[in-house]
């Protein structure tokens, strides 16, 4: 039965986009060009390679016509017109280089420079400043101002990442428009009026947007500058390397700028399909960890309980014996891949399968189970014209900020609907419908929705189920986003999408992986039942959960972990601790002294994303290349070199390529072979998962009224990965907290700001209580992956848990701070993370 479609979604036409597809002929400076009717004159000129100077205009934002530098002469119009806001029409003749235009530009520049401090020699923007450049090209050579200049605040601390110089500001409002139009946050504004106008925030508060760094790039003058880059370099002294951000699975393109072999800053490198020219602050500022004491600079081998520095060969030799012995009995496991490059992940599974002869290989170091949809893979650009965005599990502002910008635009500017299904009220920058649903039941909801959509509206389920079904049926294009944690729900979503697809709805799915290259590692075969390119293996190995369980039970002799920190990120903290303590031999390849590396027998110092070349696969399955920008420290080797040397030491020389190009060729060869073999098959085989119902430990929860269900929630700067160690993001890092419902707060005698101790199956953590109704009654939302308060102590392998909550009184807190109170189990891990 065909489903009647709703009236569809009303879309506003973006002012930036031409209003029609009809081409019109325009002549600019004597050159003819055909552009769509409604194109802005400045863009039409660009099509001819003619650059009209602009300050307030930015191609990603609505034109405002504030600065007047783009004045051009248009025949039959008596006055000069601004090219940024005037649209072309048939037969228009434009002059951008006439004497009238030149005179107008000189005048505008003279005004813009009237109160400008001209402190270019000490300004970070000097050398890449539009005010400087246009003054050189078009400006008057001297000022006619005899009076003293206006003075405004200088070196204003605008927020954790930005310094503002109000005197340099020309009030083009690019930054405030970015915050309003692109970020949809509206916290950065112009205050006061006329010549007193200032860029500011409410009551001088900090500007803390996750996207704040972008304002330093789009500022056409030196008003907004980046704190970490302040006075560090001149733009002409920087070397540039094209790279890919590895802080989340979006895979924004960026440029690494280096000087004297050290990273000075990162800079956007627009890829419209992926990042649309923006990067988030976590991506932008997380590189200083490379220069911290916690950075591993040489291999370490445990002797007599203590780490001692070792040469690379010594570390290889110390690992070869235990790994070879374990491989012989098959009691060996390998975890990692989600933070490695595609070729490294491929080589890691090859190391497991061909050198250690085991299928016990898994990239999943957290609660995530899937990194890709079986079918209907969406592209990020699909969000742009989606009419309904359905999210469950993923908190996109925290996990994939640049994806979230696209989502914000779709909702705020294109009137897409946003629907969040999940166990807590989410925080989005744009209006969102929220349907409270317990995590385990979302699969059932998807199945019910399938039924209702399939059978039409006569057969109604619950009131709201048919309501959602109506939304789905009425939507023109549906994009679903989830975090891959609930394999059953993902399967049910696939079937729902099948049903919708059957009725001609364009549908797509995006899975936000927990690690930057989760998707690449899955495709490269870091999965116990799948070899590269999703080819099922005959005898599947053990999942991470099974390996950890085996290790904890003394059934595993050696574990090799590369670029993963399960001690902090694996949900069942108790299990992972027992596993890492029980396994007779643990080797870890890491960049930093993580909680996992801290308990290893051998630690290899691995190179970072900036010190090697390779590829990363983002959440939409797009493979992107990145290049080495700096040399690694002596003693630091790439993961490929580590795997290759280990293979050689185990008598399998040449099996693992030591350089990225050769490894990539091997990966491509494996993929080509498989692509031919697979033919037209469209649904990807699914990674082996553990039965969620079995994962619940079944530990009796004492049913007093002090017990709360624990749901971990991600936070952009919360931890997990290198950001936890980076001084660049340290000012933004949150303190651990738990969101508790007001009703529970009354019951537990808690106020916002109180310290509360949460005790669960694997120990206890201490967090700050925040009282808000984002948490449903009986639930505490606890920040995930915080080294100083690892929530995985409270969770089981399902990713959820329960804990008793107790308010800490002042004297207990004092004792806790002095370190003399009873130390909760597992504090050794926290100590390893806390010191860095």
């Amino acid at each position: 039965m065909p489903i009647p479609k709703g009236p569809g979604v009303q879309r506003s036409v973006s002012p930036l986009q031409p209003s029609s597809h009809r081409l019109v002929n325009v002549i600019i400076d004597g050159n003819a060009v055909s552009v769509p009717e409604g194109t802005l004159v400045v863009e039409a000129a660009k099509a001819l390679g003619t650059s009209v100077p602009v300050y307030c205009y930015h191609p990603k934002m609505d034109p405002v016509g504030l600065c007047r530098i783009c004045l051009v002469e248009i025949e039959k119009m008596p006055k000069l017109q601004i090219a940024c806001s005037t649209r072309v029409s048939e037969g228009m003749v434009v002059h951008t280089m006439s004497e009238r235009v030149a005179e107008a530009r000189r005048g505008v520049l003279e005004f813009l420079l009237l109160n400008h401090p001209l402190d270019c020699p000490i300004c970070d923007k000097g050398g890449e400043c539009d005010l400087q450049d246009f003054t050189m090209s078009y400006g008057p050579g001297a000022s006619r101002l005899n009076e003293p200049k206006l003075h405004k605040p200088k070196a204003v601390d605008l927020g954790p990442t930005i310094v503002l110089d109000e005197e340099r500001c020309i009030l083009c409002r690019r930054c405030t428009r970015f915050d309003a139009e692109i970020a949809q946050e509206r916290n950065l504004v112009v205050v006061e009026r006329g010549h007193r106008s200032l860029i500011g925030t409410e009551n001088g508060g900090a500007y803390t947007s996750y996207f704040s760094g972008n304002t330093t790039e789009i500022c056409p003058v030196g008003a907004l500058t980046s704190k970490p880059y302040r006075f560090r370099s001149r733009p002409w002294d920087l070397g540039h390397t094209d790279s890919i951000c590895n802080q989340c699975p979006v895979g924004c393109n960026f440029r690494i700028d280096t000087r004297f072999g050290r990273i000075m800053r990162t800079f956007t490198r627009e890829n419209t399909s992926v990042d649309d020219g923006w990067i988030c602050d976590r991506g932008r500022y997380t590189f200083n960890y490379l220069y911290q004491p916690s950075r591993l600079r040489q291999p370490l081998v445990r002797r007599g309980g203590e780490f001692v520095a070792a040469s690379f060969d010594e570390a290889i030799a110390a690992s070869a014996g235990p790994l070879a012995a374990a491989a012989q009995t098959g009691r060996v496991g390998v975890i990692g891949g989600g933070r490695l490059s595609d070729e490294e992940a491929f080589s890691l599974q090859r190391f497991a399968r061909q050198v250690l002869h085991t299928n016990n290989i898994d990239h999943r170091a957290g609660a995530q189970r899937l990194a890709s949809p079986a079918r209907y893979q969406a592209r990020l650009e699909d969000l742009d014209d989606a009419s309904l965005i359905l999210i469950f599990g993923a908190l996109t502002p925290e996990q994939a900020p640049i994806l979230d910008l696209r989502l914000r635009r779709a909702v705020a500017r294109r009137h897409a609907k946003l629907l969040f299904v999940g166990p807590y009220r989410p925080w989005f920058a744009v209006p969102c419908n929220y349907i409270e649903y317990t995590p385990g039941a979302i699969g059932d909801l998807m199945n019910q929705l399938s039924d209702v959509v399939h059978h039409g509206r006569e057969e109604k389920g619950d009131g709201f189920v048919s309501e959602i079904a109506n939304e789905l049926v009425g939507a023109e294009k549906i994009i679903a986003i989830h975090n891959g944690r609930d394999a059953d729900a993902a399967g049910a979503l696939d079937r729902l999408m099948d049903t919708l697809h059957q009725y001609d709805h364009p549908v797509g799915i995006l899975v936000v992986g927990s690690q930057a290259n989760s998707r690449g590692a899955e495709a490269a075969g870091c999965i116990p039942n799948l070899s590269p390119a999703y080819i099922p293996v005959d005898d599947p190995g053990m999942t991470t959960h099974q390996m950890l369980t085996a290790a904890a039970e003394g059934k595993l002799d050696a574990l090799f972990i590369a670029g993963a920190n399960p001690a902090l990120t694996y949900p069942d903290g108790l299990l992972v601790r027992r596993a890492l303590d029980s396994v007779p031999f643990l080797a870890v390849a890491e960049q930093l002294m993580t909680e996992t590396a801290a308990v290893a027998d051998v630690v290899f110092a691995a190179s970072s994303f900036a010190e090697k070349s390779g590829h990363l696969t983002n959440l939409e399955g797009r493979r992107q290349a990145f290049k080495a920008a700096v040399e690694p420290p002596v003693g630091v080797f790439s993961d490929l070199q580590i795997f290759s040397a280990l293979a050689s030491a185990l008598g399998r020389e040449g099996v693992i390529a030591a350089d990225a190009d050769a490894a990539f060729a091997q990966l491509r060869a494996a993929e080509d072979l498989i692509r031919r073999a697979r033919g037209g098959q469209t649904s990807l085989p699914r990674p082996q998962t553990d039965d969620v119902s079995d994962l619940h430990s079944g530990d009796a929860v004492d049913a007093t009224h002090h017990t709360l269900a624990i749901i971990p929630v991600p936070r952009l700067y919360g931890g997990g990965g290198a950001a936890a160690y980076d001084p660049g993001v340290a000012p933004m890092r949150p303190e651990p907290f738990a969101v508790i419902h007001p009703d529970d707060a009354v019951r537990l005698g808690l106020d916002s700001g109180d310290r509360v101790q949460l005790s669960g199956r694997g120990g206890s953590i201490e967090v700050e209580a925040k009282i808000a109704d984002q948490a449903p009654p009986g639930v505490a939302l606890v920040l995930a992956d915080m080294p100083q308060a690892p929530v995985n102590r409270l969770l089981d392998a399902s990713g959820f848990g329960s804990a008793t909550a107790q308010k800490l009184r002042a004297e207990e807190r004092l004792r806790g701070e002095l370190g003399s109170s009873s130390v909760a189990v597992g504090d050794g891990y926290a100590a390893a993370g806390a010191g860095v």
Binding site: V191, T201, N203
Partner: protein
């Protein structure tokens, strides 16, 4: 938000097709109550109209008759824009500062006088001008200013600031 303020806000919002239209009347109501637009008023206004507190501040700070701090009974605002400057507003400004003993934006210790230099008061045809509470004074010479000041010092203003 106090219940009283919430009630007032709801009344104002009901008068317009769009809640944001109630912003300035609401800020005026808050100013009438508190004597100035407090930080709380800014946050209340944001809650009422569904915009961010930063946006409210941006709008509130635009208007010279919305005060961010408590002001005196007599608010004297001297125009300092072009037409007035060409007609001697700089002299008037210096004179007013000296006679009041106040710098731009200051309120006297006894809380009676606030002095401010403001943008165009839209009386360019009779420059230089000043505004005393809601009353305009045109073609103001330093002597006129002194005469007026005597009067202001002697009596309570008919309309005190903030006024509705």
């Amino acid at each position: 938000m106090t219940p009283e303020r919430e009630r007032r806000g709801a009344q104002l919002v009901a008068k317009y097709p769009n809640a944001q239209s109630a912003l300035i009347p609401f800020l005026q109501a808050c100013q009438e109550e508190d004597g100035y637009v407090s930080g709380d008023a800014i946050r209340d206004a944001a809650e009422l109209t569904g915009i961010t507190p930063a946006e409210v501040e941006s709008i509130a700070s635009f208007y010279s008759l919305l005060f961010k701090e408590p002001v005196g009974k007599h608010v004297i605002q001297v125009c300092r824009t072009l037409s007035c400057m060409l007609r001697g507003a700089d002299e008037l400004r210096d004179h007013a500062r000296m006679r009041l003993g106040l710098a731009n934006g200051e309120t006297s210790a006894d809380g009676r006088f606030t002095y401010e230099e403001v943008e165009c008061l839209a009386a360019c045809d009779r420059a230089p001008c000043l505004q005393h509470n809601l009353e305009f004074h045109y073609d103001v010479t330093p002597e006129d200013f002194d005469r007026q000041l005597e009067r202001w010092r002697a009596e309570e203003p008919a309309v005190t600031m903030p006024a509705e």
